[in-house]
Amino acid sequence: MNLVTFSGPPSSGKTAVILKTIRALRERNIKAGVVKFDCLYTDDDKLYAREDIPVKKGLAGSLCPDHYFVSNIEEVVQWGRKKGLDLLITESAGLCNRCSPYIKDIKAVCVIDNLSGINTPRKIGPMLKTADIVLITKGDIVSQAEREVFASRVRAVNPDAVIMHINGLTGQGAYEFSTLLDTEKEDIKTVSGKRLRFSMPSAMCSYCLGEKRIGEEHQLGNVKKIELGDEDEEQK
């Protein structure tokens, strides 16, 4: 079984792109399944189920979704193998842009949309920077100039990646993209022992542990302060 991790900001079009991609894979008799990671709520599993795509969802709830992902990925891989999949896709929304669920030697795809603004590529961090393939969506509603500027910004953040434009609604580009997912026949039996491409945050503070009170005396552990400057500086 092959494994691909999908990530991207909420509402960037991950599910739409994956659905269209799986349709294209089916034309070539490749059996794909999806595990959707989310925080509090998702209905996307129903969209997959409606097309008879094997699917499971995992809600992180009170945990950070990327921590939840990495603590569960091995079990998810075993589920995919048991289902007899040729390709397992994990889908997770990047939320604070600090982390990414990408694993070394496992294909990583970032989905990002043209509508999110041209400064978004530099805000996203590891999720975009360390992806192997970047898919840009919603190109059908913005001008050619905006598409070109956006793509060049993506290229400046991640010069190594394959960058493709995909339309999640019509599926334009999905067939072409799907051919990149099964190039090498890999047989992944386990991800135990593999490594994340980028570390999770090293911070651990009182609020991570459930503190609710505000104020200096309640702040313990790894605390970072905003630089506001002092009054002298403002007068200069």
Binding site: A145, P159, I163, Q172
Partner: protein
């Protein structure tokens, strides 16, 4: 590939001197530019953990990225010499797997080709084949040749170097910028040298196409439908890097469509136009007819069709005149 070892020995100052665009790349990567006398790796090893985390990519690998970026940019800057003069389609199959009834269709720079066929007949699929420079590996099995040869791989994989630029009715400007700021941003992303001259040209050409004029300081989001279309067309003709332009209809209102097409082909582009409008279809030099997923006909415009086009234009002119008269509260003049 730019050998990594080569870059490894250059100081930051030397590197920037040799490849000026690398400076903005490093800023984008949050790489500090203070000690320009040191090499990239030397600087990297002196960074704090926090700074390293901001850069995300580790030392050696970061150097490979710098090298990949330089390589990309060199391709990008040298791209004018690898212009597209001829686009060829080699036959594939229709939706039922039957072979298309042509061997090869050639389209030259400066030609306008209309794509005709009922909705769902496969116009978008043909576009996708061209965009992907298909090599018999798309659902239609078609092959696309560029200048008579198989297309280079980077047309597929490099988001900033695309074969096809697209213009359609439902495209909008979403950036909150003035016309001039917007065009400068587009020109900058392509590292064009005579940026200001080109920006001025785009604005002037767009105003030629639009009925009502706008200025360089107008906000792009506040332009009228006709003005937006005119600006998108002029910008795509002059500032886009893509040699092939695909148009999905051009609405009749607020823009001179014939001038728009002249502008696009005048800038050495190949224009493919999906349309249901007879005037637009007859403005094209050639027509590709699509049905059931296959190209069923490739027709060159004849003299009789040119005459029909002239009549159609006269009708359109009359309608435009009538529209204007009614809009300004006049009684319609004679419809002779």
């Amino acid at each position: 590939m730019k050998s990594k070892n080569n870059l490894q020995e250059l100081s930051l100052a030397e590197l920037i001197d040799k490849y000026p665009y690398i400076e903005s790349f490093l800023v984008e990567q949050k790489f500090p530019l203070v000690r320009k006398d040191l090499t990239i790796l030397e600087i990297y090893h002196q960074l704090s953990e926090g700074e390293k985390e901001d850069i995300v990519i580790e030392g050696e690998e970061f150097l490979s990225r710098v090298s990949a970026y330089i390589e990309n940019m060199q391709d990008f800057l040298g791209e004018k010499e690898t212009g597209v003069e001829l686009l060829s389609l080699l036959a594939g199959n229709d939706k039922d797997g039957n072979q298309e009834q042509y061997e090869r269709i050639d389209i030259k720079t400066g030609e306008i080709v209309a794509l005709l066929g009922p909705t769902g007949s496969g116009k978008s699929r043909l576009l996708a084949d061209i965009e992907w420079a298909a090599q018999g590996d798309s659902p239609t099995g078609r092959t696309i040749l560029i200048n008579g040869e198989k297309a280079a791989k980077e047309w597929r994989m490099n988001g900033s170097k695309k074969l096809v630029a697209q213009l359609s009715q439902n495209m909008n400007f979403v950036m909150d910028l003035s016309v001039e700021e917007f065009l400068c941003l587009h020109a900058e992303s392509r590292l064009l040298e005579n940026e200001h001259e080109l920006v001025k040209k785009v604005i002037q050409k767009a105003n030629d196409l639009a009925g009502e004029t706008f200025s360089a300081t107008s906000q792009i989001t506040s332009l009228s439908g006709g003005q937006s279309r005119a600006l998108m067309i002029a910008d795509t003709a002059i500032l886009s890097s893509s040699p092939i332009i695909l148009i999905d209809e051009i609405e009749n209102a607020g823009i001179d469509r014939e001038k728009a097409l002249d502008l696009l082909v005048g800038e050495e582009k190949i224009v493919l136009m999906a349309t249901h409008d007879p005037t637009l279809a007859l403005m094209a030099d050639k027509r590709i007819v699509i049905n059931n997923g296959a190209i069923v006909d490739f027709i060159e415009r004849n003299n009789r069709e040119k005459d029909i086009l002239r009549d159609l234009k006269a009708v359109n002119d009359k309608l435009a005149k009538l529209r204007k008269e009614l809009r300004y509260g006049k009684r319609p003049s004679l419809f002779d």
